[in-house]
Symmetry: C2
Amino acid sequence: MTDGNIFDNQEFFDRYRELRQNPDNANILIEKPALFSLAPDLKGKDVLDLGCGYGENCSEFMKLGAATVLGVDISEKMLAVAKTETEDIDYLRADMNDLSGIPGHYDVIFSSLAIHYIKHFDRLCDSIYTLLRAGGYFIFSQEHPLTTAPLMGVEWVKDVSGKRTHYLLSDYMKNTKRETVWFVEGVVKYHRNFSELINSLISSGFTIEGMLEPVVDQPTLERLPVYESDLHKPNFLLIRARK
Amino acid sequence: MTDGNIFDNQEFFDRYRELRQNPDNANILIEKPALFSLAPDLKGKDVLDLGCGYGENCSEFMKLGAATVLGVDISEKMLAVAKTETEDIDYLRADMNDLSGIPGHYDVIFSSLAIHYIKHFDRLCDSIYTLLRAGGYFIFSQEHPLTTAPLMGVEWVKDVSGKRTHYLLSDYMKNTKRETVWFVEGVVKYHRNFSELINSLISSGFTIEGMLEPVVDQPTLERLPVYESDLHKPNFLLIRARK
């Protein structure tokens, strides 16, 4: 499997699409609102979306007044969907491991849940810094480091009723590749702990402006108690950094 | 027990002192080198040490060329030791929950393993920001958020040989008080997750300059395999922030 391009695997693609269409999925309930809460005013701004997938966020950036939006993804299948479902948006197929083919400069660069597929976060930060105009924002979400940490994948201790009581954390300090099963076998991700993430951003010249570890609100928790375990171990980490 | 002043409990004080005198303890092996690695050149600088304890770090700051060093601690017993064992250093008894009695301004403010005893980190950041000169540094260590997270205290899953394989993480998102047993019962600490720490610093006006989650090096690990579990769950978090 090509590193970072699990999305062109047909089985993965189909099951991922099904997941993302469920309105109670964690992306829609938790990650997406958090990502947009970190966005500055996008009116008249040139926006780049790295790992744009179906282009849903690109559409939102346009609705929020962006002057231009360029969506970039490694997956041809994802971009094919994006092109038919969204308008006024340019799409470019590119690997986030090498952004040298991306033209122009940007005011805001977003990346939603793609960073953990990329091997060299330090190099990515350098590339993004170069693509940003002075004062520009880099706003990203990724799987929470506590989620990516265990070499053997996510496991919980449960009580007799099946409720998750403890997360089995291991390997948090080992900033290396993880091979996990997610719909299909052999999904490759990269675990980075907090200090690795923060120091890479700082080394590239970024100022950290904010960090979110979002969970659902109380009413949603009552409706969907499955999200209670997020209070033990959140699923997402978001950072806003500025050039 | 007075919040944040466990150190004036005689039993705690005696056992803590014994622990700190063991050269293989985690403070000496891990936390202290990490703290000093974050320090700028101290020559001619005015230094404040919040939660100075026995004043060991204050002595080091003097040796590194600091013009003045003021050590602050809530514990009379700790300051009594500090005053007899270190020279050329001023000591002041004060509660880190209220820094209004601290005179002057400083180039560098250190705090070693005291922050997690303080209820309001956001207010503390504001106070420290005020006490710093422009360009000044706030450099602190604290118990790692993964250590303080579980409401019921630190617990591990072990294999048949007794080796720690998984850390039982819970309650990471609950930024509240923790009552733990450490030599004596009822030691009060405050858990804060990464986003709470980072955002409080940023809200006070600080720029984050670096973060460390230190563990022992490979030769030390071979000599003292007890520290292997730090690779699953580190014990310390350090941050360097700048005004």
